[in-house]
Protein backbone atom coordinates (compact mmCIF):
# COMPACT_ATOMS: atom_id res chain seq x y z
CA UNK A 1 0.00 0.00 0.00
CA UNK A 2 2.80 2.43 0.90
CA UNK A 3 4.53 1.78 -2.46
CA UNK A 4 1.23 2.39 -4.21
CA UNK A 5 0.68 5.60 -2.26
CA UNK A 6 4.21 6.83 -2.91
CA UNK A 7 3.83 6.12 -6.65
CA UNK A 8 0.53 7.99 -6.82
CA UNK A 9 1.95 10.88 -4.80
CA UNK A 10 4.90 11.23 -7.17
CA UNK A 11 2.48 11.23 -10.14
CA UNK A 12 0.36 13.85 -8.36
CA UNK A 13 3.34 16.16 -7.79
CA UNK A 14 4.64 15.62 -11.34
CA UNK A 15 1.18 16.39 -12.76
CA UNK A 16 0.93 19.56 -10.67
CA UNK A 17 4.38 20.72 -11.80
CA UNK A 18 3.48 19.94 -15.43
CA UNK A 19 0.15 21.73 -15.10
CA UNK A 20 1.80 24.81 -13.59
CA UNK A 21 4.34 24.85 -16.46
CA UNK A 22 1.55 24.66 -19.06
CA UNK A 23 -0.45 27.39 -17.34
CA UNK A 24 2.64 29.59 -17.09
CA UNK A 25 3.70 29.11 -20.71
CA UNK A 26 0.19 29.66 -22.09
CA UNK A 27 -0.75 32.63 -19.91
CA UNK A 28 2.63 34.30 -19.33
CA UNK A 29 4.82 33.64 -22.37
CA UNK A 30 2.34 33.42 -25.28
CA UNK A 31 0.53 36.74 -24.68
CA UNK A 32 3.78 38.71 -25.03
CA UNK A 33 4.12 41.92 -23.06
CA UNK A 34 1.34 42.01 -20.45
CA UNK A 35 2.18 45.63 -19.56
CA UNK A 36 1.62 46.66 -23.19
CA UNK A 37 -1.71 44.80 -23.26
CA UNK A 38 -2.81 46.40 -20.00
CA UNK A 39 -1.91 49.94 -21.07
CA UNK A 40 -3.16 49.62 -24.63
CA UNK A 41 -1.40 50.22 -27.97
CA UNK A 42 -1.18 54.02 -27.52
CA UNK A 43 0.84 53.96 -24.27
CA UNK A 44 4.34 55.46 -24.35
CA UNK A 45 7.26 52.97 -24.22
CA UNK A 46 8.48 54.55 -20.96
CA UNK A 47 5.13 54.04 -19.24
CA UNK A 48 4.96 50.44 -20.50
CA UNK A 49 8.46 49.79 -19.23
CA UNK A 50 7.66 51.33 -15.83
CA UNK A 51 4.60 49.10 -15.46
CA UNK A 52 6.62 46.06 -16.62
CA UNK A 53 9.17 46.75 -13.88
CA UNK A 54 6.40 47.26 -11.32
CA UNK A 55 4.76 43.96 -12.32
CA UNK A 56 8.10 42.19 -12.46
CA UNK A 57 7.55 41.03 -16.03
CA UNK A 58 10.85 42.51 -17.23
CA UNK A 59 12.65 39.66 -15.52
CA UNK A 60 13.56 36.36 -17.30
CA UNK A 61 10.72 33.81 -17.68
CA UNK A 62 12.42 31.12 -15.57
CA UNK A 63 12.88 33.58 -12.72
CA UNK A 64 9.21 34.65 -12.93
CA UNK A 65 8.07 31.03 -12.96
CA UNK A 66 10.14 30.27 -9.88
CA UNK A 67 8.85 33.43 -8.20
CA UNK A 68 5.26 32.33 -8.89
CA UNK A 69 5.76 28.75 -7.64
CA UNK A 70 7.71 29.76 -4.51
CA UNK A 71 5.13 32.48 -3.80
CA UNK A 72 2.31 29.97 -4.23
CA UNK A 73 3.94 27.56 -1.77
CA UNK A 74 4.27 30.42 0.72
CA UNK A 75 0.63 31.47 0.17
CA UNK A 76 1.51 34.64 -1.76
CA UNK A 77 -0.12 34.70 -5.21
CA UNK A 78 0.67 38.29 -6.02
CA UNK A 79 -1.54 41.33 -6.56
CA UNK A 80 -4.48 41.58 -8.94
CA UNK A 81 -3.91 44.31 -11.57
CA UNK A 82 -7.60 45.15 -11.74
CA UNK A 83 -8.68 44.89 -8.11
CA UNK A 84 -5.35 45.95 -6.51
CA UNK A 85 -5.93 43.36 -3.81
CA UNK A 86 -3.97 40.18 -3.06
CA UNK A 87 -5.08 37.38 -5.42
CA UNK A 88 -5.14 34.99 -2.47
CA UNK A 89 -7.86 37.03 -0.71
CA UNK A 90 -9.89 37.20 -3.93
CA UNK A 91 -9.69 33.43 -4.38
CA UNK A 92 -10.67 32.69 -0.77
CA UNK A 93 -13.65 35.05 -1.05
CA UNK A 94 -14.86 33.38 -4.28
CA UNK A 95 -14.20 29.84 -3.08
CA UNK A 96 -16.62 30.53 -0.20
CA UNK A 97 -19.32 30.34 -2.86
CA UNK A 98 -17.95 27.85 -5.40
CA UNK A 99 -17.02 25.09 -2.94
CA UNK A 100 -20.41 25.04 -1.12
CA UNK A 101 -22.14 25.13 -4.54
CA UNK A 102 -20.16 22.12 -5.81
CA UNK A 103 -20.67 20.27 -2.50
CA UNK A 104 -24.41 20.95 -2.55
CA UNK A 105 -24.64 19.79 -6.16
CA UNK A 106 -22.72 16.61 -5.27
CA UNK A 107 -25.09 15.90 -2.34
CA UNK A 108 -28.17 16.30 -4.58
CA UNK A 109 -26.50 14.20 -7.30
CA UNK A 110 -25.81 11.38 -4.85
CA UNK A 111 -29.30 11.37 -3.35
CA UNK A 112 -31.08 11.44 -6.72
CA UNK A 113 -28.77 8.97 -8.44
CA UNK A 114 -28.71 6.34 -5.68
CA UNK A 115 -32.49 6.43 -5.31
CA UNK A 116 -33.11 6.22 -9.07
CA UNK A 117 -30.36 3.66 -9.75
CA UNK A 118 -31.37 1.29 -6.94
CA UNK A 119 -35.05 1.59 -7.87
CA UNK A 120 -34.29 0.84 -11.55
CA UNK A 121 -32.16 -2.18 -10.65
CA UNK A 122 -34.82 -3.55 -8.30
CA UNK A 123 -37.38 -3.23 -11.15
CA UNK A 124 -34.99 -4.66 -13.79
CA UNK A 125 -36.57 -4.79 -17.28
CA UNK A 126 -39.93 -3.63 -15.90
CA UNK A 127 -41.71 -0.36 -16.55
CA UNK A 128 -39.99 1.46 -13.66
CA UNK A 129 -36.56 0.48 -14.95
CA UNK A 130 -37.32 1.54 -18.53
CA UNK A 131 -38.78 4.83 -17.23
CA UNK A 132 -35.74 5.69 -15.10
CA UNK A 133 -33.31 4.73 -17.87
CA UNK A 134 -35.20 6.79 -20.47
CA UNK A 135 -35.28 9.79 -18.13
CA UNK A 136 -31.56 9.41 -17.44
CA UNK A 137 -30.84 9.29 -21.18
CA UNK A 138 -32.69 12.61 -21.54
CA UNK A 139 -30.91 14.01 -18.44
CA UNK A 140 -27.50 13.26 -19.96
CA UNK A 141 -28.48 15.10 -23.17
CA UNK A 142 -29.58 18.32 -21.44
CA UNK A 143 -26.92 21.03 -21.15
CA UNK A 144 -26.69 22.09 -17.50
CA UNK A 145 -26.79 25.80 -18.35
CA UNK A 146 -30.00 25.32 -20.35
CA UNK A 147 -31.58 23.39 -17.48
CA UNK A 148 -30.54 26.29 -15.25
CA UNK A 149 -32.37 28.70 -17.59
CA UNK A 150 -35.47 26.46 -17.53
CA UNK A 151 -35.38 26.43 -13.71
CA UNK A 152 -35.21 30.24 -13.69
CA UNK A 153 -38.15 30.37 -16.14
CA UNK A 154 -40.25 28.12 -13.91
CA UNK A 155 -39.28 29.07 -10.36
CA UNK A 156 -38.29 32.72 -10.80
CA UNK A 157 -40.28 34.04 -13.77
CA UNK A 158 -43.55 32.11 -13.32
CA UNK A 159 -43.77 30.96 -9.70
CA UNK A 160 -41.56 33.76 -8.27
CA UNK A 161 -40.27 31.45 -5.50
CA UNK A 162 -36.61 32.25 -6.08
CA UNK A 163 -34.69 35.24 -7.37
CA UNK A 164 -33.46 34.87 -10.96
CA UNK A 165 -29.83 35.21 -9.90
CA UNK A 166 -27.33 36.82 -7.57
CA UNK A 167 -26.09 35.70 -4.19
CA UNK A 168 -27.51 36.96 -0.89
CA UNK A 169 -24.15 36.44 0.83
CA UNK A 170 -23.37 34.32 3.86
CA UNK A 171 -23.78 37.43 6.07
CA UNK A 172 -27.53 37.28 5.39
CA UNK A 173 -27.65 33.91 7.13
CA UNK A 174 -27.04 30.34 6.06
CA UNK A 175 -30.63 29.76 4.92
CA UNK A 176 -30.63 32.78 2.60
CA UNK A 177 -27.22 31.74 1.24
CA UNK A 178 -28.28 28.14 0.63
CA UNK A 179 -31.52 29.33 -1.00
CA UNK A 180 -29.49 31.36 -3.52
CA UNK A 181 -27.45 28.27 -4.33
CA UNK A 182 -30.33 25.77 -4.54
CA UNK A 183 -31.36 26.28 -8.21
CA UNK A 184 -27.73 26.40 -9.44
CA UNK A 185 -26.95 23.22 -7.48
CA UNK A 186 -30.00 21.41 -8.90
CA UNK A 187 -29.09 22.39 -12.46
CA UNK A 188 -25.57 21.05 -11.95
CA UNK A 189 -26.85 17.89 -10.26
CA UNK A 190 -29.41 16.78 -12.83
CA UNK A 191 -26.94 15.84 -15.57
CA UNK A 192 -24.48 14.25 -13.16
CA UNK A 193 -27.18 12.27 -11.38
CA UNK A 194 -28.43 10.93 -14.73
CA UNK A 195 -24.96 9.53 -15.37
CA UNK A 196 -24.50 8.24 -11.81
CA UNK A 197 -27.96 6.61 -11.76
CA UNK A 198 -26.96 4.49 -14.78
CA UNK A 199 -23.67 3.49 -13.09
CA UNK A 200 -25.51 2.66 -9.83
CA UNK A 201 -28.09 0.56 -11.68
CA UNK A 202 -25.53 -1.51 -13.57
CA UNK A 203 -23.33 -1.90 -10.45
CA UNK A 204 -26.31 -3.16 -8.41
CA UNK A 205 -27.36 -5.51 -11.24
CA UNK A 206 -23.80 -6.91 -11.45
CA UNK A 207 -23.76 -7.65 -7.71
CA UNK A 208 -27.27 -9.13 -7.83
CA UNK A 209 -25.89 -11.83 -10.15
CA UNK A 210 -23.19 -12.86 -7.62
CA UNK A 211 -23.32 -16.23 -5.86
CA UNK A 212 -23.40 -14.75 -2.35
CA UNK A 213 -26.62 -12.93 -3.17
CA UNK A 214 -28.22 -16.20 -4.27
CA UNK A 215 -26.97 -17.77 -1.02
CA UNK A 216 -28.49 -14.97 1.05
CA UNK A 217 -31.81 -15.36 -0.76
CA UNK A 218 -31.65 -19.18 -0.34
CA UNK A 219 -31.14 -18.70 3.41
CA UNK A 220 -34.46 -16.89 3.49
CA UNK A 221 -33.35 -13.25 3.54
CA UNK A 222 -36.00 -11.00 2.03
CA UNK A 223 -35.29 -9.11 -1.19
CA UNK A 224 -35.23 -5.82 0.71
CA UNK A 225 -32.79 -7.16 3.32
CA UNK A 226 -30.55 -8.67 0.64
CA UNK A 227 -30.53 -5.42 -1.30
CA UNK A 228 -29.73 -3.14 1.65
CA UNK A 229 -27.59 -5.55 3.66
CA UNK A 230 -25.47 -7.23 0.99
CA UNK A 231 -25.84 -5.79 -2.47
CA UNK A 232 -25.45 -2.07 -1.85
CA UNK A 233 -22.24 -2.29 0.12
CA UNK A 234 -20.59 -4.23 -2.70
CA UNK A 235 -22.08 -2.13 -5.48
CA UNK A 236 -20.69 1.09 -3.98
CA UNK A 237 -17.10 0.55 -5.21
CA UNK A 238 -17.63 1.66 -8.84
CA UNK A 239 -20.21 4.22 -7.71
CA UNK A 240 -17.78 5.98 -5.36
CA UNK A 241 -15.10 5.97 -8.04
CA UNK A 242 -17.39 7.66 -10.54
CA UNK A 243 -18.59 10.12 -7.87
CA UNK A 244 -15.02 11.25 -7.33
CA UNK A 245 -14.51 11.80 -11.03
CA UNK A 246 -17.82 13.65 -11.23
CA UNK A 247 -16.67 16.16 -8.65
CA UNK A 248 -14.14 17.40 -11.22
CA UNK A 249 -16.94 17.73 -13.77
CA UNK A 250 -19.01 19.65 -11.24
CA UNK A 251 -16.18 22.09 -10.62
CA UNK A 252 -15.92 22.76 -14.37
CA UNK A 253 -19.72 23.00 -14.53
CA UNK A 254 -19.81 25.64 -11.80
CA UNK A 255 -17.94 28.03 -14.12
CA UNK A 256 -20.88 27.97 -16.56
CA UNK A 257 -23.70 27.82 -14.04
CA UNK A 258 -22.27 30.71 -11.99
CA UNK A 259 -22.52 32.79 -15.15
CA UNK A 260 -26.19 31.81 -15.66
CA UNK A 261 -27.13 32.86 -12.10
CA UNK A 262 -24.67 35.80 -11.86
CA UNK A 263 -23.07 34.22 -8.80
CA UNK A 264 -19.82 35.84 -7.61
CA UNK A 265 -17.81 32.61 -7.53
CA UNK A 266 -14.55 31.44 -9.05
CA UNK A 267 -16.05 31.08 -12.54
CA UNK A 268 -17.29 34.67 -12.65
CA UNK A 269 -13.93 35.87 -11.32
CA UNK A 270 -12.18 34.14 -14.24
CA UNK A 271 -14.43 35.83 -16.82
CA UNK A 272 -14.17 39.24 -15.23
CA UNK A 273 -10.40 38.81 -15.13
CA UNK A 274 -10.27 37.79 -18.79
CA UNK A 275 -12.16 40.92 -19.81
CA UNK A 276 -9.97 43.04 -17.51
CA UNK A 277 -6.86 41.35 -19.00
CA UNK A 278 -5.96 40.54 -15.38
CA UNK A 279 -3.83 37.56 -16.38
CA UNK A 280 -2.33 37.04 -12.92
CA UNK A 281 -5.82 36.25 -11.56
CA UNK A 282 -6.69 34.05 -14.57
CA UNK A 283 -3.41 32.16 -14.13
CA UNK A 284 -4.02 31.45 -10.45
CA UNK A 285 -7.72 30.57 -10.94
CA UNK A 286 -6.94 28.10 -13.74
CA UNK A 287 -4.11 26.59 -11.68
CA UNK A 288 -6.35 26.30 -8.63
CA UNK A 289 -9.10 24.53 -10.62
CA UNK A 290 -6.60 22.21 -12.34
CA UNK A 291 -5.03 21.42 -8.92
CA UNK A 292 -8.47 20.64 -7.47
CA UNK A 293 -9.22 18.27 -10.38
CA UNK A 294 -5.84 16.53 -9.96
CA UNK A 295 -6.27 16.31 -6.17
CA UNK A 296 -9.76 14.79 -6.47
CA UNK A 297 -8.48 12.22 -8.98
CA UNK A 298 -5.68 11.35 -6.55
CA UNK A 299 -8.13 10.89 -3.66
CA UNK A 300 -10.34 8.69 -5.88
CA UNK A 301 -7.38 6.46 -6.81
CA UNK A 302 -6.39 6.10 -3.17
CA UNK A 303 -9.98 5.50 -2.01
CA UNK A 304 -10.41 2.91 -4.72
CA UNK A 305 -7.40 1.00 -3.44
CA UNK A 306 -8.59 1.30 0.16
CA UNK A 307 -12.10 0.03 -0.66
CA UNK A 308 -10.87 -2.74 -2.95
CA UNK A 309 -7.52 -4.09 -1.71
CA UNK A 310 -7.20 -6.22 -4.85
CA UNK A 311 -6.24 -3.05 -6.70
CA UNK A 312 -2.47 -2.90 -6.88
CA UNK A 313 -0.25 0.00 -7.81
CA UNK A 314 0.43 -1.60 -11.18
CA UNK A 315 -3.26 -1.72 -12.05
CA UNK A 316 -3.74 2.02 -12.03
Amino acid sequence: MSVFLAKRLITLIATLIGASAVVFVVLEILPGNAAQILMGPDASPDAVHALAVQLGIDRPAAERYWHWISGMLAGDLGLSYAYSTPVRDLLIERLALTVPLAAMAMAITTALALAAGIYAASRHNKLGDVGVMSLSQIGIAIPNFWFAILLILLFSVHLKWFSAGGFAGWNEGIVAGLKSLLLPAISLAVVQSAILARITRSAVLDVLREDFVRTARAKGASQRRTLWGHVLRNAMIPVITVMGLQFSELLAGTIVVESVFYLPGLGRLIFQSISNRDLIVVRNCVMLLAAMVVAVNFIVDVLYAVIDPRIKASDI
Binding site: L27, P143, I149
Partner: protein
Amino acid sequence: MKRAFSHASFAIGAVLSLLLVAAAALSLIWTPHSPYEVDMAAKLLPPDAAHWLGTDPYGRDIVSLLLVGARASIAVGVVAVGIGLVIGAALGLLAAARRGWAEELIMRLADFGFAFPAILSAIMLTAVFGPGMVNAIIAIGLYNIPTFARITRASANAVWSREFVLAARACGKGAFSITMEHVLPNIASVLIVQATIRFAIAILAEAALSYLGLGTQPPQPSWGRMLSEAQSLMFQAPMLAVYPGVAIALAVLGLNLLGDGLRDLFDPRLARTR
Protein backbone atom coordinates in the same frame (compact mmCIF):
# COMPACT_ATOMS: atom_id res chain seq x y z
CA MET B 1 -29.45 -3.66 -41.62
CA LYS B 2 -32.83 -5.02 -40.55
CA ARG B 3 -31.33 -5.98 -37.17
CA ALA B 4 -29.92 -2.48 -36.82
CA PHE B 5 -33.24 -0.72 -37.38
CA SER B 6 -35.15 -3.09 -35.11
CA HIS B 7 -32.82 -1.89 -32.30
CA ALA B 8 -34.77 0.98 -30.70
CA SER B 9 -31.77 3.05 -29.48
CA PHE B 10 -30.02 2.77 -32.82
CA ALA B 11 -33.14 3.60 -34.83
CA ILE B 12 -34.10 6.68 -32.76
CA GLY B 13 -30.46 7.80 -32.55
CA ALA B 14 -29.93 7.40 -36.29
CA VAL B 15 -33.08 9.37 -37.12
CA LEU B 16 -32.19 12.25 -34.73
CA SER B 17 -28.58 12.35 -35.95
CA LEU B 18 -29.72 12.36 -39.58
CA LEU B 19 -32.09 15.24 -38.76
CA LEU B 20 -29.14 17.20 -37.33
CA VAL B 21 -27.06 16.61 -40.46
CA ALA B 22 -30.05 17.34 -42.70
CA ALA B 23 -30.72 20.65 -40.89
CA ALA B 24 -27.11 21.73 -41.35
CA ALA B 25 -27.06 20.59 -45.02
CA LEU B 26 -30.38 22.28 -45.77
CA SER B 27 -29.13 25.55 -44.27
CA LEU B 28 -26.35 25.60 -46.88
CA ILE B 29 -28.86 25.86 -49.73
CA TRP B 30 -32.04 27.23 -48.13
CA THR B 31 -33.32 28.94 -44.99
CA PRO B 32 -36.81 30.49 -44.61
CA HIS B 33 -35.18 33.93 -44.08
CA SER B 34 -31.65 35.24 -43.89
CA PRO B 35 -30.25 34.49 -40.41
CA TYR B 36 -28.01 37.57 -40.66
CA GLU B 37 -30.66 40.11 -41.70
CA VAL B 38 -31.55 42.46 -38.83
CA ASP B 39 -35.09 43.87 -39.03
CA MET B 40 -35.95 45.81 -35.89
CA ALA B 41 -39.55 46.33 -37.11
CA ALA B 42 -40.06 42.55 -36.89
CA LYS B 43 -38.46 42.01 -33.48
CA LEU B 44 -39.84 39.41 -31.03
CA LEU B 45 -42.73 38.39 -33.31
CA PRO B 46 -44.77 35.40 -32.11
CA PRO B 47 -44.89 32.28 -34.32
CA ASP B 48 -46.91 32.75 -37.53
CA ALA B 49 -46.95 31.48 -41.13
CA ALA B 50 -43.96 33.61 -42.14
CA HIS B 51 -41.88 32.93 -39.00
CA TRP B 52 -42.73 29.43 -37.76
CA LEU B 53 -41.07 29.94 -34.36
CA GLY B 54 -41.17 33.74 -34.31
CA THR B 55 -38.26 36.18 -34.35
CA ASP B 56 -35.48 37.21 -31.96
CA PRO B 57 -34.85 40.74 -30.51
CA TYR B 58 -33.10 41.72 -33.75
CA GLY B 59 -36.00 40.53 -35.92
CA ARG B 60 -34.09 37.48 -37.18
CA ASP B 61 -36.08 34.33 -37.97
CA ILE B 62 -35.64 31.69 -35.23
CA VAL B 63 -36.01 28.68 -37.57
CA SER B 64 -33.29 30.08 -39.85
CA LEU B 65 -31.01 30.70 -36.87
CA LEU B 66 -31.57 27.15 -35.59
CA LEU B 67 -30.86 25.61 -39.02
CA VAL B 68 -27.62 27.55 -39.47
CA GLY B 69 -26.72 26.94 -35.80
CA ALA B 70 -26.65 23.20 -36.54
CA ARG B 71 -23.70 23.89 -38.82
CA ALA B 72 -21.59 25.31 -35.99
CA SER B 73 -22.36 22.27 -33.82
CA ILE B 74 -21.45 19.82 -36.58
CA ALA B 75 -18.31 21.72 -37.58
CA VAL B 76 -17.04 21.81 -34.00
CA GLY B 77 -18.00 18.16 -33.43
CA VAL B 78 -16.32 16.85 -36.59
CA VAL B 79 -13.07 18.79 -36.21
CA ALA B 80 -12.74 18.42 -32.42
CA VAL B 81 -13.47 14.68 -32.53
CA GLY B 82 -11.17 14.38 -35.58
CA ILE B 83 -8.29 16.00 -33.64
CA GLY B 84 -8.90 13.76 -30.62
CA LEU B 85 -9.36 10.62 -32.71
CA VAL B 86 -6.32 11.02 -34.98
CA ILE B 87 -3.82 12.13 -32.33
CA GLY B 88 -5.30 10.08 -29.46
CA ALA B 89 -5.61 6.85 -31.46
CA ALA B 90 -2.09 7.27 -32.86
CA LEU B 91 -0.68 7.71 -29.34
CA GLY B 92 -2.74 4.79 -28.00
CA LEU B 93 -1.60 2.51 -30.84
CA LEU B 94 2.01 3.57 -30.29
CA ALA B 95 1.73 2.86 -26.55
CA ALA B 96 0.30 -0.61 -27.19
CA ALA B 97 2.88 -1.45 -29.88
CA ARG B 98 5.98 -0.22 -28.03
CA ARG B 99 4.98 -0.93 -24.39
CA GLY B 100 7.66 -0.10 -21.78
CA TRP B 101 8.65 3.50 -21.23
CA ALA B 102 6.80 4.77 -24.33
CA GLU B 103 3.53 3.38 -22.97
CA GLU B 104 4.26 4.74 -19.49
CA LEU B 105 5.08 8.20 -20.87
CA ILE B 106 2.00 8.37 -23.11
CA MET B 107 -0.33 7.22 -20.34
CA ARG B 108 1.10 9.68 -17.83
CA LEU B 109 0.67 12.45 -20.43
CA ALA B 110 -2.94 11.30 -20.85
CA ASP B 111 -3.44 11.50 -17.07
CA PHE B 112 -1.98 14.97 -17.22
CA GLY B 113 -4.41 15.95 -19.97
CA PHE B 114 -7.33 15.13 -17.68
CA ALA B 115 -6.23 17.99 -15.39
CA PHE B 116 -7.56 20.46 -17.97
CA PRO B 117 -11.27 20.03 -18.70
CA ALA B 118 -12.29 21.53 -22.08
CA ILE B 119 -13.63 24.64 -20.45
CA LEU B 120 -10.35 25.39 -18.65
CA SER B 121 -8.33 24.92 -21.85
CA ALA B 122 -10.78 27.17 -23.68
CA ILE B 123 -10.50 29.82 -20.95
CA MET B 124 -6.71 29.84 -21.25
CA LEU B 125 -6.78 30.02 -25.05
CA THR B 126 -9.39 32.78 -24.93
CA ALA B 127 -7.42 34.78 -22.38
CA VAL B 128 -4.47 34.77 -24.75
CA PHE B 129 -5.83 34.72 -28.30
CA GLY B 130 -9.35 36.10 -27.75
CA PRO B 131 -12.64 34.24 -28.14
CA GLY B 132 -13.51 32.38 -31.32
CA MET B 133 -14.76 29.16 -32.85
CA VAL B 134 -11.25 27.97 -33.80
CA ASN B 135 -10.01 28.28 -30.21
CA ALA B 136 -13.11 26.44 -28.99
CA ILE B 137 -12.45 23.63 -31.48
CA ILE B 138 -8.79 23.39 -30.44
CA ALA B 139 -9.73 23.32 -26.74
CA ILE B 140 -12.36 20.59 -27.18
CA GLY B 141 -10.05 18.65 -29.51
CA LEU B 142 -7.18 18.75 -26.99
CA TYR B 143 -9.57 17.56 -24.29
CA ASN B 144 -10.53 14.56 -26.48
CA ILE B 145 -6.96 13.35 -27.03
CA PRO B 146 -6.39 11.66 -23.62
CA THR B 147 -9.75 9.86 -23.79
CA PHE B 148 -9.05 8.40 -27.23
CA ALA B 149 -5.45 7.55 -26.25
CA ARG B 150 -6.59 5.60 -23.19
CA ILE B 151 -9.39 3.71 -24.94
CA THR B 152 -7.23 2.90 -27.97
CA ARG B 153 -4.37 1.65 -25.81
CA ALA B 154 -6.64 -0.57 -23.67
CA SER B 155 -8.40 -2.09 -26.71
CA ALA B 156 -5.15 -2.44 -28.69
CA ASN B 157 -3.41 -4.19 -25.79
CA ALA B 158 -6.20 -6.79 -25.81
CA VAL B 159 -5.71 -7.37 -29.55
CA TRP B 160 -1.93 -7.63 -29.19
CA SER B 161 -2.35 -10.60 -26.84
CA ARG B 162 -4.49 -12.56 -29.34
CA GLU B 163 -3.20 -15.65 -31.18
CA PHE B 164 -3.46 -14.21 -34.68
CA VAL B 165 -1.16 -11.37 -33.69
CA LEU B 166 1.33 -13.89 -32.29
CA ALA B 167 1.09 -15.77 -35.58
CA ALA B 168 1.73 -12.56 -37.54
CA ARG B 169 4.77 -11.84 -35.38
CA ALA B 170 6.02 -15.38 -35.89
CA CYS B 171 5.77 -14.74 -39.64
CA GLY B 172 8.17 -11.86 -39.15
CA LYS B 173 5.78 -8.93 -39.49
CA GLY B 174 6.86 -5.67 -37.89
CA ALA B 175 4.98 -3.70 -35.22
CA PHE B 176 3.81 -1.09 -37.73
CA SER B 177 2.27 -3.54 -40.21
CA ILE B 178 0.65 -5.58 -37.39
CA THR B 179 -0.84 -2.35 -36.02
CA MET B 180 -2.24 -1.29 -39.38
CA GLU B 181 -3.37 -4.71 -40.64
CA HIS B 182 -4.58 -6.42 -37.47
CA VAL B 183 -4.89 -4.08 -34.49
CA LEU B 184 -6.56 -1.06 -36.06
CA PRO B 185 -9.31 -2.99 -37.93
CA ASN B 186 -10.11 -4.89 -34.72
CA ILE B 187 -10.51 -1.79 -32.57
CA ALA B 188 -12.29 0.30 -35.22
CA SER B 189 -15.73 -0.46 -33.80
CA VAL B 190 -14.70 0.74 -30.31
CA LEU B 191 -13.32 3.94 -31.80
CA ILE B 192 -16.46 4.55 -33.90
CA VAL B 193 -18.69 4.17 -30.82
CA GLN B 194 -16.43 6.47 -28.80
CA ALA B 195 -16.31 9.03 -31.61
CA THR B 196 -20.13 9.17 -31.64
CA ILE B 197 -20.28 9.75 -27.88
CA ARG B 198 -17.47 12.34 -27.95
CA PHE B 199 -19.31 14.09 -30.80
CA ALA B 200 -22.27 14.56 -28.45
CA ILE B 201 -19.97 15.84 -25.69
CA ALA B 202 -18.32 18.24 -28.19
CA ILE B 203 -21.74 19.68 -29.12
CA LEU B 204 -22.47 20.26 -25.41
CA ALA B 205 -19.05 21.84 -24.87
CA GLU B 206 -19.40 24.10 -27.92
CA ALA B 207 -22.82 25.23 -26.73
CA ALA B 208 -21.45 25.99 -23.25
CA LEU B 209 -18.45 27.90 -24.63
CA SER B 210 -20.63 29.88 -27.04
CA TYR B 211 -23.06 30.62 -24.20
CA LEU B 212 -20.13 32.04 -22.22
CA GLY B 213 -19.03 34.10 -25.24
CA LEU B 214 -15.87 32.03 -25.75
CA GLY B 215 -17.02 30.03 -28.80
CA THR B 216 -18.76 30.96 -32.05
CA GLN B 217 -18.81 34.74 -32.47
CA PRO B 218 -21.49 37.05 -33.93
CA PRO B 219 -22.91 37.27 -36.51
CA GLN B 220 -22.46 33.50 -37.02
CA PRO B 221 -25.53 31.86 -35.37
CA SER B 222 -24.91 29.25 -32.68
CA TRP B 223 -27.33 27.49 -30.36
CA GLY B 224 -25.28 28.34 -27.25
CA ARG B 225 -25.19 32.04 -28.05
CA MET B 226 -28.90 32.06 -28.88
CA LEU B 227 -29.47 30.86 -25.31
CA SER B 228 -27.24 33.53 -23.87
CA GLU B 229 -29.10 36.24 -25.84
CA ALA B 230 -32.47 34.77 -24.81
CA GLN B 231 -31.59 34.87 -21.12
CA SER B 232 -31.87 38.65 -20.90
CA LEU B 233 -35.39 38.47 -22.39
CA MET B 234 -36.82 35.73 -20.23
CA PHE B 235 -39.65 37.87 -18.95
CA GLN B 236 -40.73 39.18 -22.40
CA ALA B 237 -40.05 36.14 -24.61
CA PRO B 238 -39.48 33.00 -22.54
CA MET B 239 -39.78 30.63 -25.53
CA LEU B 240 -36.60 32.07 -27.05
CA ALA B 241 -34.73 30.27 -24.25
CA VAL B 242 -36.51 27.00 -25.01
CA TYR B 243 -35.99 26.34 -28.76
CA PRO B 244 -32.15 26.31 -28.91
CA GLY B 245 -32.00 24.14 -25.77
CA VAL B 246 -34.39 21.61 -27.32
CA ALA B 247 -32.22 21.57 -30.46
CA ILE B 248 -29.05 20.90 -28.41
CA ALA B 249 -30.75 18.23 -26.27
CA LEU B 250 -32.19 16.40 -29.32
CA ALA B 251 -28.83 16.44 -31.12
CA VAL B 252 -26.99 15.13 -28.06
CA LEU B 253 -29.70 12.57 -27.30
CA GLY B 254 -29.58 11.33 -30.90
CA LEU B 255 -25.81 10.89 -30.91
CA ASN B 256 -25.78 9.20 -27.49
CA LEU B 257 -28.52 6.76 -28.54
CA LEU B 258 -26.68 6.11 -31.81
CA GLY B 259 -23.49 5.38 -29.83
CA ASP B 260 -25.36 3.02 -27.47
CA GLY B 261 -27.03 1.29 -30.41
CA LEU B 262 -23.77 0.88 -32.33
CA ARG B 263 -22.09 -0.56 -29.23
CA ASP B 264 -24.85 -3.14 -28.84
CA LEU B 265 -24.76 -4.01 -32.54
CA PHE B 266 -20.97 -4.31 -32.67
CA ASP B 267 -20.84 -6.37 -29.46
CA PRO B 268 -24.15 -8.17 -28.84
CA ARG B 269 -22.73 -9.79 -25.67
CA LEU B 270 -22.76 -6.37 -23.98
CA ALA B 271 -26.40 -5.81 -24.86
CA ARG B 272 -27.41 -9.12 -23.29
CA THR B 273 -25.64 -8.50 -20.01
CA ARG B 274 -26.98 -4.99 -19.53
